[in-house]
Amino acid sequence: MIELSEVRFRWHRDAALVLDIPKFEVKAGERIFLEGPSGCGKTTLLNVLGGVVVPENGSVKVNGTEITQLNSAKRDAFRADHIGIIFQMFNLIPYLSPIDNITLPCRFSRQRHAAAQKNSGSVEKEARRLLAQMQLPEDAIINFSAFELSTGQQQRVAAARALIGAPALIIADEPTSALDHDVRQTFINLLFNEITGTGTTLLFVSHAPDLAEQFDRRIQLSDINEANQK
């Protein structure tokens, strides 16, 4: 699913290396718990995987595609088609309703639009299904703008958005760090429920070690990234 080899990245020509990853592989359907202190290159790695930035050398294969060979427009299209992303917080576009936030990726990806349609008949129905799946009763949130939802609700809407149209890879960047302890567990359970059996790969970044045991594999970023290790 993910194959990185000899990936080196720095933000400026004169800056120090932020990423220096000789090898990193994730199999399809794996649920990876990636941990590391802030400033160790997590965000940069996610940007590389998402194709927003290109490393200065090395190979980045996601879902079988060598994304370093794509131009920026194709990388954006690739991300739209294959990757769902959940941020730490403030995931939602304030002027869109929860449903419109969820269906947003389908506006940028025909593939996910088609997949969502196939699954539930229409993109909106699929969004509602995912909301229900995330245990957010539609009528409880439908009339609220994104900012009126609680943080936990916002993160669940964000998860539904990442999941819509069944992308092959979900990248969650500390999605639970803004949540209370018990809400956190619920969130992970719901996320797992939805991807179980679909073959979706999950890359879950966090620095809450107590969550790690539920994942297939636990990776310290410092173990794979040789940069910053003086």
Partner: protein, 422 residues
């Protein structure tokens, strides 16, 4: 990414920032209203100007400037420096190639309105606008020496009706402390509105002008000499001179030939002008004011568009998260830039639409006032090609201005990627 989706996002984003967006739309609307309003006024002023006189081939007066002659003979502005003798007038009027003439005699006034002596020919041959003749609202042309026909505005402003008696003031000026009190005139008719200086004119016969000046010399009453109306009527009232006259030719093709011949007239120094040419010259003089007005309107539009650019640029920072989210769900930097551009175009589009509404609303409200105070009738018509052209230019300018925030958003979006920076 379909254009529809981008426009849709832009619309919702604008809706989310209602207050600033509405204010910006309003600023653009007002500026568009101004520029179109100026254009409409200019167009109609020019039109009404050009419509003041038509169908007249030549205007002849004492030798002076062509604009001066046009001003006093047609617009009742300023004074003639000299008169033309009756003899010279008749010799030209009797030419074979001259079809008709309208003699006019100016110099007196009635409560601020100019009095013009003329003949029946005026009501028969004078044309304005699209070759329209003068129509009577009530009554008929003057038939007697002491009868008068009022322009519609004179009658309306002073509240005269047919049959009223009026006293003509000697000379020009609203004070009129020297009056031709001994010889009142009876209103025989009131003309229909023309939208030209005719509306502000008191018309009497040439004989009437002569009659009220019997017993006057050099602009003052001769002491002890009082001749009443009836006595004056019995005298020979053929004027000795007139101020100017209008000429209609048998064939317009002869206009230049006649013009040349009149300008070489041996009897006295007289001047003939082609009204169309003189009107053009006069409008050219006013062209500067016109240009200044247009320039101010353009500046106001530029100000409105600049306001929009500032609004969008100011929002750029607070929308970086939104941009990062869009990138994360697969938007290209180009999409993000396009969204900002779409917002600029939408704001300007709404602005122009509201501007049009304001313009027509303003015209409906102000039309009677403009007509009453400026004597300018602004018809409420659909936008003319030139106005559409202005609209297109404003939209092009708006798009160009909108490119600035769009480009900034594009570049920020590349730099930030999907990193949420606050």
């Amino acid at each position: 990414m379909p254009v529809v989706a981008i426009v849709n996002l832009s619309l919702r984003s604008l809706k989310n920032r209602r207050l600033t967006v509405v204010l910006t739309i309003f600023a653009i609307a007002v500026s568009l209203m101004l520029i179109l309003g100026v254009e409409k006024l200019r167009h109609n002023a020019k039109l009404s100007f050009a419509n003041t006189i038509s169908g007249t081939d030549l205007i002849v007066g004492a030798r002076s400037g062509s604009i001066q002659l046009l001003l006093y003979s047609v617009f009742r502005i300023g004074n003639a420096t000299n008169n033309i003798s009756w003899k010279s007038y008749r010799s030209i009027a009797e030419r074979k190639d001259v079809k008709w003439t309208i003699p006019i005699s100016l110099g007196d006034s009635h409560r601020g309105f100019r009095v013009m002596g003329t003949t029946d020919a005026y009501f028969r041959y004078y044309r304005y606008g699209q070759k329209r003749t003068l129509q009577f609202q009530v009554g008929r042309p003057f038939a007697d020496v002491f009868e008068t026909v009022l322009g519609s505005e004179v009658a309306q402003a002073l509240g005269y009706k047919s049959g009223d008696k009026i006293i003509i003031d000697h000379g020009i000026g609203s004070s009129g402390f020297v009056k031709h009190k001994d010889k009142p005139f009876i209103v025989s008719g009131i003309l229909a509105r023309t939208g030209t200086p005719v509306d502000r004119t008191v018309h009497v016969s040439l004989e009437g002008i002569t009659a009220i000046h019997v017993g006057w010399r050099s602009g003052a009453r001769i002491p002890g000499m009082i001749i009443d109306g009836n006595a004056a009527r019995k005298m020979d009232l053929t004027p000795r001179s007139i101020t100017a006259f209008m000429v209609g030719l048998e064939s317009r093709l002869a206009a230049f030939k006649v013009l040349r011949e009149i300008n070489n007239f041996r009897g006295e120094p007289i001047l003939a002008i082609l009204p169309g040419v003189a009107l053009q010259e006069l409008w050219g003089v006013m062209g500067t004011a016109e240009a200044v007005l247009s320039a101010v309107a353009i500046m106001v539009v530029a100000g409105g568009l600049l306001g929009m650019a500032i609004m969008l640029l100011a929002s750029l920072n607070e929308r970086r998260r939104e941009m990062a989210i869009l990138r994360a769900v697969g938007a290209r930097p180009l999409h993000v830039g396009a969204m900002f551009l779409a917002e600029a175009v939408l704001i300007s589009g709404f602005g122009c639409f509201v501007g049009f509404l304001l313009l027509y609303l303003g015209m409906i409200i102000l039309q009677p006032m403009i007509e009453a105070h400026l004597g300018l009738f602004v018809p409420i018509t659909p936008p003319m090609p030139r106005e559409w052209l202005i609209l297109v230019f404003v939209m092009i300018a708006a798009t160009a201005v909108g490119l600035v925030p769009a480009l900034m958003a594009y570049r920020k979006s590349i730099a930030d990627g999907m990193t949420v920076r606050i």
